[in-house]
Homo-oligomer: 639 residues x 2
Amino acid sequence: MFELRDRDGLGRLGAFATPHGTIDTPALLPVINPNQVLIPPKEMVAKFGAQAVITNAYILHRSMRERALAEGVHDILDFRGPVMTDSGAFQQHVYGGVAVSNEDIVAFQRTIGSDIGTSLDLFSEPEHGADRAKADLEETLARTRRAAELAGSMTLAGTVQGGLHADLRRHCAEELSKIGVGVHAIGGVVPLMESYRFRDLVRVIVAAKQGLRPDRPVHLFGAGHPMIFGLAALLGCDLFDSASYVKYARDGRLLFADGTRHVEELRAIPCECPACSTAKLEDLLADERLRAEHNLYASFAELRRVRQAIAEGQLWELVERRCRSHPALIDALRELRHHNEFLERFEPLSRRGGFFFTGPETQHRPILWRYRQRLPERYRPPRRHVVMFPEGPRPYATTRGELISRILAAKDVHFLVKSVWGPVPIELDEVHPIGQSVIPESLDAESLEAAEVFAQQYLRGAGYEKGVLWTGEECLADFPDTAPGALDVVRARLQAVADLQFGRGAADALLAGTIELVTSKTTGKVRNVIRDGKHILSLRAEDGFYTLKAEGGRILHAGLLRPALRVIVETDTAEFNRQGKNVMAKFVVECDAGLRPFDECLVVDERDALVAVGRALMNREEMLAFDRGVAVQVREGVT
Amino acid sequence: MFELRDRDGLGRLGAFATPHGTIDTPALLPVINPNQVLIPPKEMVAKFGAQAVITNAYILHRSMRERALAEGVHDILDFRGPVMTDSGAFQQHVYGGVAVSNEDIVAFQRTIGSDIGTSLDLFSEPEHGADRAKADLEETLARTRRAAELAGSMTLAGTVQGGLHADLRRHCAEELSKIGVGVHAIGGVVPLMESYRFRDLVRVIVAAKQGLRPDRPVHLFGAGHPMIFGLAALLGCDLFDSASYVKYARDGRLLFADGTRHVEELRAIPCECPACSTAKLEDLLADERLRAEHNLYASFAELRRVRQAIAEGQLWELVERRCRSHPALIDALRELRHHNEFLERFEPLSRRGGFFFTGPETQHRPILWRYRQRLPERYRPPRRHVVMFPEGPRPYATTRGELISRILAAKDVHFLVKSVWGPVPIELDEVHPIGQSVIPESLDAESLEAAEVFAQQYLRGAGYEKGVLWTGEECLADFPDTAPGALDVVRARLQAVADLQFGRGAADALLAGTIELVTSKTTGKVRNVIRDGKHILSLRAEDGFYTLKAEGGRILHAGLLRPALRVIVETDTAEFNRQGKNVMAKFVVECDAGLRPFDECLVVDERDALVAVGRALMNREEMLAFDRGVAVQVREGVT
């Protein structure tokens, strides 16, 4: 059983329960060769922080079948933690075939007590055409269905195949999602990783993820090089397995998050791990085990960096940096923008901390794609004319003095900043990620060009009657009716944020009546919005969005038609939420498809009675799929 | 005494001799506070690999003057390795003044046995105007001159001041170069590093380096954060000192090569160092010393990564990647291109291994700037017309089949590839860095635009009578005289490389007479060039340039007028070089200003008699400045 704990991008911190203990994901399962144990599983745990290992059932079956059946895999490995077994599918890729049937190997894994077993899928090579890949994946599906019948209480991993054919990968994933397996694996990717075809790897993972149900952990089979952990986690891979640590060590090579180096190439040891800190170059040259230890230290540390990046909302930054390690990874990074429609669905509303520009690719992160989608859909320009302030690189006005006051005072003229991320109305310059952006002063041509294109696109659709670029005060002469008519910026900000966050119309509903504002004594910024004496909204300093109070929830519930912002729970369980208890995913009946992780939402029962307000931790697909974990963190019950 | 061992960019692996041992540079000197020793110097050596430490003479003078005079600084620190002392200049910055004179503190440092002492320079703040900074640096220079008189046998560090004023920094550096000090320091930079003004830091370092003589190590005062080690080393800084490891540890913060993190922000420990590998988060939270250890492990490992990058010729790649860690570092990276005329003088001819694209900034590395400068100066187009093959991203033709044969067979029509780095004649597609390039398939707009600009610039100046862009075979119809007249590509390649490497005219000199070629049996490529029966050149597979044999040297010597390619040595010592011994820098009298590190060169005596051929390890300024080390690796003496 898999439970979601935190998230960033499609990356997730999860907990995956097995009969021999829980695995915190993303996790790396070191491969143990039962015939040749270089580093025993117990040491994997104690020294490197491994929680689970993987071993090959096909090898066990071939080389020590009787003993394995008698003792079980945990005794053979001398390990009481979770053990996953592979089926021999990869051996087909290497040797062209295996001498065991799907039924036999699944039954064998069950009998030896594997925590996670694998059916014998057919490994599609990248060069296989669509016909062959299709036939093979249908056979893989048939075998997985059969394996699910045979698996008993063993958790089964069902592997997505389909070669380089995105439609087949997705089809395979959709079919596997209907089978009662506990883990999904993405197979057939080792040849892509070995030949640095990372753009193809991205396409394959995204296609698989689009078809897979989101409540099961996803294992990227054979991924054991730390240079791709970040990218794979960003795309929603939860489990990795590594024989690389030992294979590379055998060849004299060391793994690093930025690539591979042969010990013979070294003049200095570019690493701080315990193996490298005490060693001399001669030791690393001579000692295979020391190299394997380095490889494990480097791999598990990179995994922790990925975990930390998810926790601090910096996974995109980590991946964008890592992708500078090799031009083929830059291609992978530049591929991501083509999948924004999918990626955006899982992208949190906002993240902790800064939002950092790392290069022209940052421009195309899903969160910015969303901003540029939502701005014309949700934001209503308050005035008929527009002055575009060519601030270029900066995302929001840094000079808030007299200049801006004048523009604001000009009747019917609206002030917009041409930021690198797209046009930013001054009222929205504190929402995430605009307000949290950290951007170089000197920008590359691609970023500047994109900023120009985004600004023009927006202006064409926004319905301003007239627009000019700010060239100095004289440009206001273009607007004969610039009599004083000062915009109430504070009010405009409250409205703009409400519409952007909750949808167009939300501002009209929320901000009617008598509005009082509570401002922060230290910053002077609005903290609480009081309507007719009732606290309806709080404005968060960290991301510029609202926190919804019960009274605000009532207004939105009345003002916005179903399904907007709704999470519909089983009427029987709604009473718990009224009392302030969180909404568990298993009780969610339906959900607004527009809700995103960390969005404020309305919890309603099946008759659309409002029972609570809270913060969604999942999107619709996840709420409907997950049987465990919290779907909505309830802030206030509505009684 | 400082000796150069290897290099990349302006970065250098050096050996700096002191009375208490040699320091391998780039080096980090941890700051030891004598009143509060958190980690003793001996442990700094044993555990972290430090070779030297730095302590503050001003603190010693104030708090334990008598004891220090009696015991000496090495006893007080219980350390027999090299000890550098600071003078209190930084305390002026912190406290506004110090209660000691320059004379007193220099004499004190000498008496307590400091290996490297520092004069009491005046710390210019970034906000100081030119007048104040100028007055202060003149005082700094006067104090340094006085200190040099007082220092006795102690090596003195003379500090470059001048605030943000590049002209003053350079002037100060030039004046300091005339004073008998052993180390140069760059001071007044802590405020820049603390406020992430990395672009200003680059300007300050480059200005100082332009004025400093190249034979002394350069210490970047107060640089103790691993995130800038790579950048500073790339610009020729050799020594760093760090109190950061302890200051940050005290605040609960951890240093990483990509920035700083507070332990309280962590959910996973994103590090593999021995301190972090065995610790839990609680331990790191509770234990200041553990945090300091992490900071030292991280700092010294980054320094080793820098050293390794210099050794493997990957320093630019390392720095370009590191600069993605913060937008202010991207600004620093984008600043570098403005200093290419200076940086190029120190840039090696070629490097080991691949040449990796990391982003649009790669385009402006000095090695590519040089290629684009030299192409029109040195390369002579062999034909009157040109077809520009729009290969865009790829630096050289990947389709060498029929298409290219046809173009090559077309009389008077020359084939040029519009690569991302600039136009590449097919004859030059194997020279460094063109032939070693690894480039993404998908390129950003800035890179593509630059490629277009470079191509147009070249075409305008190249003197082709007619040029077209390849649009398919039909474009050959533009050239009515496309009768077969096949270019001898092999010969054209030999000529083009000779001119590009040695200067225009070299090919005519070298490749006259009867030429035979020895080709590699495995690759079919030319290995050796035999003229009239004599081996004159070898063509290196790794960088596409020639190795010069004695016979080739004779021809170039006769064909190219002095000073081209010459390294002039004292006539008295020339005999050693005739016997095949290396040219030591101290015996170099003059040198061709066009020679670059790793260029092939002609060693001549003062009467321009050729005595040897070899590989220059330094450029002219270095050969003239260094008193130690090898200037030219002699390959063959000429007798």
